[in-house]
C-alpha cells in the first residue's frame, strides 16, 4: 500500500465525517421550533429587544428565507471552508475562538499524552516481563482502578488534593507549570490506565512467540533479544490501540478542562452548550473531531511507515 493511498483513504474519511457532523447539526438546528433568525438578531444586537422587523432584516442578510435545501448546501460549503459565522455570545468570529482555545487544549493534551505514554510503556513492559508477579498484580489493580473511575472524578479529587489542600497548583490562567502540571498529570493518568494493559498484553504475546522461545533456548540474552526483535512486533498492537486512546483523550479534555476551569476547547464547548450558542458548538465539535482524526492519521502513518511491507 502506498503512502498516497493511505492518505487518500484518510482524507475521504475525514471529509465524510465532516459532512456527517455538519449534516447532523444543520438538521437538528433547523428542525427546532425556536426561531434561529431571532436568536441571531438578539446576539448581533447584543441585548437589544429584537423585533419582527429586525428578524426580517436578519432573514435577508443570512439568507434564512431561502429554500431549506439551498441553505443546507450553503451550510455544507461553508463548513468545508471552516466558516462557522459568529458566536451568539461574544459576537466574535467562531474560528477566532477555536484558534484561541485550541492552542490551550493542544498544550495540555500534547504533554499529557506524552506523559501518559511515558507512564504506560515502562509499567506495561514490567508487568508483561514479570507477568503474574506481585508487581504485576499491584500495577494491574492500579491501572484497572484508574480506568474504572470516571475522569471527572479523578479531576475532582486532584483539585481537592493539590489545589485546595496543598496549594501546589492553581485554577486560573493558561500557562505556567503550577497551572499545568496537575492537568497534565490527570490526562496522563487517564491515558496510561488502559494503555499500560495493552502494552502488557503485547509484551506477553511477543515473549510467548515461538521465535522468541527458540532464541531464548539457544541462549540469546533476553534483553538484547526483546529490544532487537521483539519490540517492533510488540509495538504494533499498541499503535493499533492508539485511536481508542485518542478518543478517550477527547472526552477527558471536555470534563477535565471543565473541572479545572482550563479554557480550552472542551471548556468552551460545555459553556457554548449551556448558552445554546449553536455556531460555536458546531465549530468546536468539528474542531475536536478533526483533532481526533489528525491524531489517528498520524498513528496510521506511523504504522504504515514501520510495517509498510504489510497492508495497513
Amino acid at each position: 500500500m502506498t503512502l498516497a493511498s493511505v492518505l487518500a483513504r484518510k482524507a475521504l474519511l475525514i471529509v465524510t465525517i465532516t459532512l456527517l457532523v455538519a449534516t447532523c447539526s444543520f438538521w437538528a438546528v433547523h428542525l427546532l421550533p425556536e426561531n434561529l433568525a431571532l436568536q441571531i438578531a438578539a446576539a448581533r444586537f447584543s441585548g437589544a429587544e429584537p423585533s419582527q422587523d429586525l428578524a426580517y432584516v436578519v432573514n435577508q442578510t443570512y439568507g434564512l428565507d431561502r429554500p431549506i435545501l439551498v441553505q443546507y448546501a450553503d451550510w455544507l460549503a461553508r463548513t468545508l471552508r471552516f466558516d462557522f459565522g459568529t458566536s451568539l455570545v461574544t459576537g466574535r468570529d467562531v474560528s477566532h475562538d477555536i484558534a484561541h482555545h485550541g492552542v490551550n487544549s493542544l498544550r495540555t493534551v500534547f504533554w499529557g499524552f506524552l506523559a501518559g505514554v511515558g507512564f504506560a510503556l515502562p509499567i506495561g513492559y514490567f508487568c508483561g516481563r514479570f507477568a503474574d508477579s506481585r508487581l504485576d498484580t499491584a500495577l494491574t489493580v492500579f491501572s484497572a482502578t484508574v480506568s474504572t473511575i470516571p475522569s471527572f472524578l479523578v479531576a475532582i479529587i486532584m483539585v481537592q488534593i493539590f489545589v485546595v489542600e496543598f496549594g501546589l497548583a492553581t485554577l486560573s490562567g493558561t500557562s505556567g507549570w503550577t497551572r499545568l502540571w496537575v492537568l497534565i498529570l490527570t490526562i496522563a493518568l487517564s491515558v496510561s490506565g488502559a494503555l499500560s494493559r495493552v502494552v502488557r498484553a503485547a509484551v506477553i504475546d511477543v515473549r510467548g512467540q515461538p521465535y522468541m522461545q527458540h532464541a531464548l533456548m539457544r541462549g540469546v540474552p533476553e534483553r538484547q533479544l526483546f529490544w532487537r526483535h521483539g519490540a517492533k512486533n510488540a509495538l504494533r498492537p499498541i499503535l493499533n490501540y492508539l485511536p481508542v486512546v485518542f478518543m478517550f483523550l477527547i472526552y477527558d479534555v471536555i470534563v477535565i478542562e471543565t473541572v479545572f476551569n482550563y479554557h480550552g476547547l472542551g471548556w468552551a464547548l460545555i459553556n457554548a452548550v449551556r448558552a445554546l450558542d449553536v455556531p460555536l458548538m458546531q465549530g468546536l465539535v468539528l474542531a475536536l473531531v478533526l483533532f481526533y482524526l489528525c491524531c489517528t492519521t498520524i498513528s496510521d502513518l506511523l504504522t504504515w511507515r514501520i510495517y509498510r511491507q504489510r497492508a495497513v
Binding site: 474519511l13 438546528v29 470516571p150 472524578l153 475532582i156 472526552y251 471536555i254 458546531q282 465539535v285 473531531v289
Partner: protein
C-alpha cells in the same frame, strides 16, 4: 479453579448490581424525589441509611433509582445496537458488492467519530431526556457490532464447514442458527459487557456535565456534581454514587476480561 475466580467475581458483582437496579427500588420503596428541606444533609441512620442530600432527599433511594436509569439506558442502547449491527451485517453479507462496501464505509465513518461529542452537540438541541440519550448513544454505538458480526460472519461463510453444510443442502436459516449464531454470540456478549461499562461512564459524564438530563431525575453523575460542593458536610452522600459507578464498571471490566472464550477457532 483459580482461573475461574475473576469470572465468578465478575458475574457475582454484576448480578448483585442488576438485582439492586431491578429489585432495589421495589424493596426500598422510598420516593427518590421526595424532598424535606428541613432535614437536608441528615446523617446516615435508621431513617436514611445513607443520609440525605441538599434538599433532604434519601440518598439510598436515589442511588438505586440511578442504577435503574443507567442500567436501563445502557441495556437499551446495547440491544438496539446489537439488532442494528446484526441486521446490517446480514444485509451486507446477503447482497454483497456495492451494498456491503457502502455499509462498511458508512460504519467506518461513524465508528471513527468520537461519539460522546455528537451526544453533547445534539442532546440539548433535541430536548434531552432518556429517550434522546438512548437514541444518540445508539447512533454512534452500532458500528462496533456491525463490524464484529460482519467480519466474523464473512470469515465463517468462507470456512470449510459452512461450505460443506451448504453443499449438503442446508438452508440459510439453518446454517445461521446452527453454525453462525453459536460462534458470534460469545464475541458479541463480550463486546456488550465492555460497552455497557463504557456507556455507564458516558451517562455519568453527561449527567455530571448536566447535558440531556433534567432534575429531579436521580442520576449518579448529576448527584456527584450537585454534592461535590458539600463534600465536607456530606462525605457519605457524595461517596455513595461514586462507589456505585466504580462497582458496576469494575464488575463489567472483570467480567469482560475473564469471559470464557468461544470454543470454535476464529482469526
Amino acid at each position: 479453579m483459580l482461573r475461574q475466580t475473576p469470572w465468578t467475581l465478575g458475574v457475582a458483582l454484576t448480578l448483585m448490581f442488576v438485582g439492586a437496579a431491578v429489585f432495589g427500588p421495589l424493596i426500598y420503596s422510598v420516593d427518590p424525589d421526595a424532598q424535606n428541606l428541613m432535614s437536608a444533609f441528615a446523617h446516615a441512620g435508621s431513617e436514611h441509611p445513607l443520609g440525605t442530600d441538599q434538599l433532604g432527599r434519601d440518598i439510598l433511594a436515589r442511588v438505586l433509582h440511578g442504577a435503574r436509569y443507567s442500567a436501563g439506558i445502557a441495556v437499551s442502547v446495547i440491544l438496539f445496537s446489537l439488532a442494528m449491527g446484526c441486521v446490517l451485517a446480514g444485509v451486507a453479507m446477503w447482497f454483497g458488492g456495492i451494498v456491503s462496501t457502502a455499509l462498511t464505509l458508512f460504519s467506518d465513518a461513524v465508528y471513527a467519530l468520537p461519539g460522546l461529542l455528537v451526544t453533547i452537540l445534539l442532546a440539548d438541541v433535541l430536548g434531552g431526556g432518556a429517550v434522546i440519550i438512548i437514541f444518540l448513544l445508539w447512533l454512534v454505538a452500532w458500528p462496533e457490532y456491525f463490524r464484529l458480526s460482519y467480519s466474523i460472519g464473512q470469515h465463517l461463510m468462507n470456512s470449510d464447514h459452512v461450505l460443506a453444510s451448504r453443499l449438503a443442502g442446508a438452508s440459510g436459516a439453518r446454517i445461521f442458527r446452527l453454525q453462525v449464531v453459536p460462534v458470534i454470540l460469545p464475541y458479541l456478549l463480550s463486546l456488550g459487557a465492555i460497552s455497557v461499562g463504557r456507556i455507564v461512564l458516558s451517562i455519568a459524564t453527561l449527567g455530571f456535565l448536566g447535558i440531556g438530563i433534567a432534575p429531579p431525575q436521580a442520576e449518579w453523575g448529576m448527584m456527584i456534581n450537585d454534592l461535590r460542593v458539600y463534600w465536607q458536610i456530606a462525605p457519605i452522600q457524595l461517596a455513595a454514587p461514586v462507589l456505585a459507578i466504580v462497582w458496576i464498571v469494575l464488575a463489567l471490566l472483570i467480567l469482560s476480561q475473564s469471559m470464557p472464550k468461544a470454543k470454535v477457532g476464529f482469526g
